[in-house]
């Protein structure tokens, strides 16, 4: 009997992944825009004014999703880079390269919005507390990864060098995550735990909707970028000429 499932392995080849990614992009792009609109509506018109922080707290609805995406995308980047290195899989390495700029931007957004929230809420633009410092390190790791890869001519060598940096740096992500438990300093503790959440339902909803929007946005953007990378790197390949004209 021949099993009739989807042969997922075929999508490891750039030639097969390229058109699949192309079909996915418009769906994710439109979904992201719509979910952003819904999320922003809930953030500004449904979530009530906070008792202590009044309306400054609304920054949380974009700060937390951005921070989350920065961390999550780094882990994805490290995973893809590791797979690309271990299995000599070009496309996995290209995904890591494609993820980096988006992760870097979200990390930067989390630092800036955090700072803009810190000033009215706690009176400071910056402190060297564990979470802020390790997030800043995450920012440097992204910049390092991008710079390292662009400084190496040969693409496969660039992939491998980047993979080493990405994997060494991945320890930073659990440090960011657990820092608020391990060290008690300025940045507030976990609001959302496995057992309960200490915020109004509409506030949680706003945050989760914007998180979904950022996530779907990231998928759309990374897919477009990896298609560009495929076209740049696979320039000589015969399948490419047919894929872009035919």
């Amino acid at each position: 009997m021949v099993s009739k499932g989807i042969n997922w392995y075929k999508y490891a080849a750039p030639a097969n992944f390229y058109p699949l990614a192309g079909k996915m992009v418009p769906w994710f792009a439109i979904a992201s825009a719509l979910i952003f609109i819904v999320g922003l509506y809930v953030s500004f018109f449904v979530a009530p004014t906070d008792y202590q922080q009044h309306d400054a707290y609304r920054i949380i609805f974009i700060h937390v999703p951005a921070a989350w995406m920065g961390m999550f995308l780094y882990v994805m980047l490290a995973l893809y880079a590791g797979v690309g290195w271990a299995f000599n899989a070009r496309l996995a390495s290209m995904m890591a390269t494609a993820i980096a700029p988006t992760g870097a931007i979200f990390t930067f957004i989390s630092l800036v919005t955090g700072s803009l929230w810190g000033r009215p809420a706690w009176g400071v633009w910056w402190v060297w507390d564990a979470r802020l410092t390790s997030t800043l390190i995450l920012m440097f790791l992204y910049i390092g990864f991008i710079s390292l890869q662009s400084s190496i001519e040969d693409p496969r060598r660039a992939d491998r060098a980047g993979a080493v940096l990405a994997l060494v740096g991945v320890i930073n992500v659990p440090i960011i995550y657990f820092s608020v438990q391990w060290w008690n300093s300025l940045h507030q503790g976990a609001t959302i735990t496995a057992k309960s959440f200490k915020m109004a339902p509409s506030m949680l909803a706003a945050m989760l909707i914007l998180l979904a929007a950022c996530w779907i946005y990231s998928i759309a953007v990374v897919l477009v970028r990896v298609r560009c990378i495929i076209r740049e790197r696979e320039r000589e390949a015969p399948w490419l000429a047919e894929a872009v004209t035919g």
């Binding site: 018109f45 004014t49 309306d55 931007i105 919005t113 803009l116 929230w117 009215p120 490419l240």
Partner: protein, 51 residues
């Protein structure tokens, strides 16, 4: 809805700089990312198409 007027909405209880600054930075950066990507796509299409 808890805003009694548009001016109240824009002032965000006095925190306008911080709130609109945050959302502004976010969407400017995400918009820039999309624009740069569109540019990159255009550049790479031009390079691989003409024979």
């Amino acid at each position: 809805m808890h805003w009694s007027s548009w001016s109240e909405f824009f002032s965000m209880g006095g925190y306008a700089l911080y709130v609109w600054g945050s959302y502004g930075v976010t969407f400017v950066l995400l918009g820039a990312e999309v624009l740069m990507l569109v540019n990159r796509k255009r550049k790479v299409s031009r390079r691989t198409l003409p024979e």
